[in-house]
Each structure stands twice: as structure tokens, then as C-alpha cells.
């Protein structure tokens, strides 16, 4: 870029007095996640003001844990949304992963790690299946993954009962490999007064990796393109199908990670869990600035969206507001955060 300054075309560019210069600060302001960041700060400030326990540093671990449980899935869901697709099966897929790891190990008396690996294969398989079905049928992903959502829900319940006779998996905490697996998926890290669950770490790492992939890798470029205009992307030579199937598999991978946490944190998994969570992931992504129609968004934003959601959920508790109105507060907070988000973005766009 430095060389370009002396280059004739570049030099002339400076001549067009129509284009006001735009400072680095303003350019930062135009990033898709900036609005949600301001929204997060507003929500944070609000609860700092009204909720005493919110101010206690030690409680940060609880807030981050709540956020990380959403964030780990919000990151791939955001990638998928930027790529123009939905995954309604993301919530139950988490349960499926946890169940299958537990059931496989327990049923066949395997080392827990074998179950964990098989569950990973299964989770990736479900993602790949979603993507394959999408292209095979030409249906919108909303419908395809809705089908998977129902099927997984039924399978979770049916298979668990078939194998264990119960609706929850048996306790596997006495099996080989459980302790080491728990150390990986369900441990805690003490940082001074703050105790962080390992999921917080995974969440941060995932966010960084995904943001890097999205902004600095070829695949990231393809993700934006297939979401923005799949026909144009295909015409210009982007492997649309592979990109989208890969995104579904990324969701599968993170569902597996969440599922493993679920299993090793609680030792058993309830087969009916996970329903309804898919929308929380989507909400986090949208609050974070992802467009529902695809082609625009940010994973950092989605993580901030998860943080907003987590802070709001726990902040209402910390503030001790009347629990009857919990959902109403939640709704108002979410609207508040997103309106701030839009306001900031609009201001930034006008500069």
C-alpha cells in the first residue's frame, strides 16, 4: 500500500474532494461487531449499577460460564449464518453428542475416550448429512435441519430408552478414562479470585480461530461469498457445496464439544435436553451483527451476543428482580442491546 501512494492513480484518488477522509477510528466503528460491543457495555453498565453481586469480581466466572455455554455454539452458528444457512438441529445435536458418547461407552463397556471419539464422528456425520440433504433436496436449510431436529429429538429419546431402559444415560463416572476426559471437558481453572470453567477457554479459543478463518483465510472469503450470493459465488468458481457442508460440520464439531462438556460436567445426560437452544444460538449471532439473510456478520460479534445474553440472564437474577417478569426483562434487555447496536452502526455508517 505504501508504494501505491506515489502511483499515479492513487495520487489522483486523493484529488476527488467528494470523498471525505475516514479515520481509522471511524473505520473500526464500521466493523459489524462494534454495535454489539457497545450494546454489551450498556448492559454491563446497567447491571453494574443495579445488581450488587454483579460488581463482585469472583462472580465473573459464573457470568462467563453462562455465556460460554451459548458462545461455543453461537460461533459456528454465526459462521453458518454468514454462509447463508440455518441449523435448527444445533441444540439437540449437543444432546445427541453427549448421549452417544455415554451410551456407546456404557453399552459396549468401552473406554470413555472411545465413546468420545465415536461421538465426534457421529456429530460430524450429522452435520455432513444436513449439508448433503440440503443440496440433494434443494430445500431451504430451515426445513432440512428442522427435519433433523425432530429426528434427533426422537432418536435421542428412543435410543436412550432402548439401550438403558431409562430416559437418561447411566452414570459413567466409574468407567475407564472418565477422569481424564472430565479433566479435558469439565474441569475448572482458578485465576486469582475467579474460577473459570474450561468451556470459557474453549469459547475464547473458538472465537479467535473462527475470526481468523473468517477474515484471514481463503475459506473465510468463500463463506462470505456463498452467504452473500451463492449463485454469484458459484459462477466465479467458489465450491459452494463444499463450503456449506464444511460449515454444517463445524456446527457438528462444536455441538460435540458442548455435548462432551454436558456429559462430563453432569456425569449423565437427559435425553430430552437441548430443545429450544438452537434459537438462543441464532439470537446471539443476530445480536452480534450477523445478517439473517447471510453474507454479513462477525464471529466476535456472535460471541459478544452470547455474552449479552448470558449477562442479561444472570444479571436479572443478580439484581433480584421479580422472577415472574424474568422473560419480560430479558426481552426488553435484548431489544435495548440491539437498538443500541443499530444506532451505533447507523452513526458509524454516516461518518
Amino acid at each position: 500500500m505504501t508504494a501505491a501512494v506515489t502511483e499515479p492513480g492513487r495520487a489522483e484518488a486523493a484529488l476527488d474532494d467528494r470523498v471525505a477522509t475516514r479515520s481509522l477510528a471511524v473505520r473500526m466503528l464500521r466493523r459489524p461487531e462494534i454495535g454489539s460491543l457497545v450494546g454489551a457495555i450498556v448492559i454491563f453498565a446497567l447491571f453494574m449499577l443495579v445488581a450488587v453481586p454483579f460488581r463482585n469480581v469472583a462472580n465473573i466466572g459464573t457470568i462467563l460460564y453462562g455465556a460460554s455455554a451459548i458462545g461455543i455454539m453461537a460461533v459456528p452458528v454465526a459462521l453458518l449464518m454468514i454462509g447463508g444457512e440455518f441449523d435448527l438441529s444445533a441444540g439437540v445435536a449437543v444432546t445427541t453428542a453427549g448421549l452417544s458418547a455415554s451410551l456407546l461407552a456404557w453399552n459396549f463397556g468401552l473406554n470413555v475416550w472411545v465413546g468420545v471419539i465415536l461421538a465426534l464422528a457421529l456429530a460430524l456425520g450429522v452435520g455432513a448429512f444436513n449439508g448433503w440433504l440440503l443440496f440433494k433436496t434443494g430445500l431451504p436449510s430451515f426445513l432440512v435441519t428442522l427435519g433433523t431436529f425432530f429426528v434427533l429429538q426422537g432418536v435421542n429419546l428412543g435410543v436412550t430408552r432402548l439401550l438403558t431402559g431409562n430416559v437418561a444415560t447411566a452414570d459413567i463416572s466409574d468407567m475407564d478414562g472418565f477422569t481424564s476426559a472430565q479433566a479435558v471437558f469439565g474441569s475448572e481453572i482458578a485465576l486469582g479470585p475467579v474460577t473459570l470453567k474450561v468451556t470459557v477457554l474453549y469459547w475464547v479459543v473458538l472465537t479467535v480461530v473462527a475470526a481468523h478463518v473468517l477474515l484471514r483465510r481463503q475459506v473465510g472469503n468463500w463463506i462470505f461469498a456463498v452467504g452473500g450470493d451463492a449463485a454469484a459465488a458459484r459462477a466465479i468458481g467458489v465450491p459452494v457445496r463444499a463450503t456449506k457442508i464444511g460449515l454444517f460440520m463445524a456446527v457438528g464439531f462444536c455441538a460435540w464439544l458442548s455435548g462432551m462438556h454436558l456429559l462430563f460436567q453432569f456425569n449423565t445426560v437427559q435425553s430430552g435436553e437441548g430443545v429450544g437452544k438452537e434459537f438462543i444460538f441464532i439470537i446471539a449471532a443476530v445480536i452480534g451483527g450477523c445478517l439473517l439473510t447471510g453474507g454479513y456478520g462477525s464471529v466476535v460479534g456472535a460471541s459478544i451476543g452470547a455474552l449479552i445474553f448470558g449477562m442479561t440472564q444472570l444479571g436479572i437474577n443478580y439484581a433480584g428482580w421479580n422472577p415472574d417478569w424474568f422473560k419480560a426483562f430479558l426481552g426488553v434487555m435484548l431489544l435495548l442491546a440491539t437498538i443500541v447496536n443499530v444506532y451505533v452502526k447507523r452513526k458509524a455508517d454516516l461518518r
Binding site: 508504494a3 492513480g9 476527488d16 473465510g220 459465488a233 459462477a235 468458481g237 467458489v238
Partner: protein, 289 residues
């Protein structure tokens, strides 16, 4: 004359009940400019979409380097060195200029194969500058650019990445006189560099300025396939326009007194009198109906 890099034999294509293309034969050679002309809806875009791998043909054979080929996707065509400027430009509106420019052909660097953003921006800027277009902020989404600016990005991209064949579908539609001139010069340069160029246009002047070979489509069929030597500009224009031309038009319009100022009036719906259409206007109307 070299062997054709691309041959179409009796190729046809239907969209549902519309047979957009029927029994089309065409040869494209490297180092030559092949102009495809024809009315609106004649099937020009359909033809090039087959060549660029976007659509599959329903009949006939396409040969690349003499071998029968069916491109599974545009990516295959591009790997074969064919780059295309589509009529609808194929730009992702929310993506930045440089990301669109390098879409599918990203430059990566280092062991980790990270995107080389600085370099891509530099190249993108340079290539656009060569066409006389400078967009100061290459991070701007292309959706906010004017029609002509977008067109220039698509053209610059195809010229940069075209290795053997460059296809341009009405590249100058949204461009002014000068920009159009630059595009025509680029076409000649690409030919000189030994590429095959397929140039689709409505403008027989433009076509005759650069074309080695002319193909006219009408209602989905090839009605003329001639070399430059066999044709004058007048003949080409006549073939294309059915004997009618800008000259003639201006003659006709002269009767309309261009300088005249009519009495102002408010006109109810549909009361603007329709001009008389010559037989030519209708016989070769879009879709020929």
C-alpha cells in the same frame, strides 16, 4: 489458423418449456476475438453460461482442446483457464471490492497460507487503475458502487485471471464512451497476448472494431457465422439490425424534430401515443415474438 480451443457442436439448452438455444455450433480460437451478437433474448447469455460451466447443455457436444467435455461447475471451467464477465456481474454485494476481485483465486502467503491482504489490495487497486478506475477505499462493499464501477471490477477480474479464454457478456453496457474504449483496447491486448476472447455485445461498431470472427444468434439459432474478411461493418450491422441502423434511426427521428418543444400537458395513463414500428422492429423483437 490454430486448432480451436473450444468447439460447440449442435448444442441446445432448455429452461423448462423455453428452448433458449438450439443446434448452436461455434468455434473459438486462441489469439482471436469471437464476437457473439444478437437481439435481446436471442440466447447469447445462455450460450456463454454453457461455456463457462454455469449451465449444462441439454443437447449436443462441447469440445475443449478437441475433447468432449462437460464442466461440472464454473470452477472446472476456470481451472481450464476460462474466465467470464457475466451480464449480471456475479459480485457479492456485501463483500468488499478486493475480496470480490480475488474471490475463488485468493492469494495466500506464508507457511500457514494466510490471506495476503496487502498484496491483494495492491493488485486490485493496480488492475482497476489500469482501467482508469480508482476506488479509494477498497474495503467498501461493492453494493454501494455505481453500476459502471461494478462492471469495471468484474471486467478487471476476468482479464486478470483469464489464462486461455476470456468471455465478456455485454461488458460495456453500463459504461461511458471512454471506459468502453478502454475495455475494447483490453480485448485487443488480450488477443495479442494469445488468449481467446468471446465478446458479446449489442453494438456492431464495437464488435467490428475488435472482432476476428462474428456469430449472430437469432431466436436461439446461429444465423450468421463469418470471418471478418467475409464481412463489412455495413453488412454486419444490416445482418444484426435487420437493415436498420443508427443513421436510419436518426433519419426517422429527424421527422420528429429533435429541437421541437411541445405544449406541456398532463397525460392520463397509457395515452402516450406509440410510435409506428417498422416491420423490422417487430420481426426481430426480443424472443422474436
Amino acid at each position: 489458423m490454430s486448432a480451436p480451443i473450444l468447439e460447440l457442436d449442435d448444442v441446445g439448452k432448455s429452461y423448462g418449456n423455453v428452448h433458449a438455444l438450439r443446434g448452436c455450433s461455434l468455434r473459438v480460437r486462441q489469439g482471436e476475438v469471437t464476437c457473439v451478437l444478437g437481439d435481446n433474448g436471442a440466447g447469447k447469455s445462455t450460450l456463454i453460461k454453457i461455456i463457462s460451466g454455469l449451465h449444462d447443455h441439454s443437447e449436443g457436444v462441447m469440445k475443449v482442446d478437441g475433447e468432449a467435455t462437460r464442466f461440472g461447475s464454473p470452477r472446472e471451467a476456470q481451472t481450464g483457464g476460462i474466465a467470464t464477465v457475466y451480464q449480471d456481474l456475479a459480485l457479492a454485494p456485501l463483500m468488499s471490492v478486493w475480496r470480490n476481485f480475488f474471490l475463488g483465486n485468493e492469494i495466500r502467503t506464508g507457511l500457514l497460507r494466510v490471506l495476503d491482504i496487502e498484496r491483494m489490495k495492491q493488485i486490485c487497486h493496480d488492475e482497476l487503475a489500469k482501467m482508469g478506475v480508482v476506488i479509494p477505499d477498497l474495503d467498501r462493499p461493492v453494493g454501494g458502487l455505481s453500476g459502471g464501477q461494478r462492471q469495471c471490477i468484474a471486467i478487471a477480474r476476468a482479464i486478470y485471471f483469464g489464462a486461455r479464454v476470456i468471455i465478456l457478456d455485454e461488458p460495456t453496457a453500463a459504461l461511458g464512451v471512454k471506459q468502453s474504449g478502454v475495455v475494447l483496447k483490453y480485448i485487443v491486448k488480450a488477443r495479442d497476448a494469445g488468449l481467446g476472447v468471446i465478446f458479446i455485445t449489442h453494438n456492431p461498431h464495437h464488435a467490428y472494431l475488435v472482432g476476428n470472427h462474428f456469430v449472430i444468434l437469432k431466436l436461439g439459432r446461429v444465423v450468421l457465422d463469418a470471418h471478418r474478411d467475409e464481412l463489412t461493418l455495413q453488412q454486419l450491422t444490416a445482418e444484426m439490425a435487420g437493415g436498420q441502423e443508427l443513421e436510419e434511426l436518426s433519419h426517422e427521428l429527424r421527422g420528429a424534430e429533435p429541437g421541437k418543444v411541445a405544449a406541456p400537458a398532463a397525460v392520463p395513463h397509457g395515452q402516450v401515443q406509440a410510435p409506428e414500428l417498422g416491420p423490422g422492429d417487430r420481426a426481430t423483437d426480443p424472443e422474436g415474438r
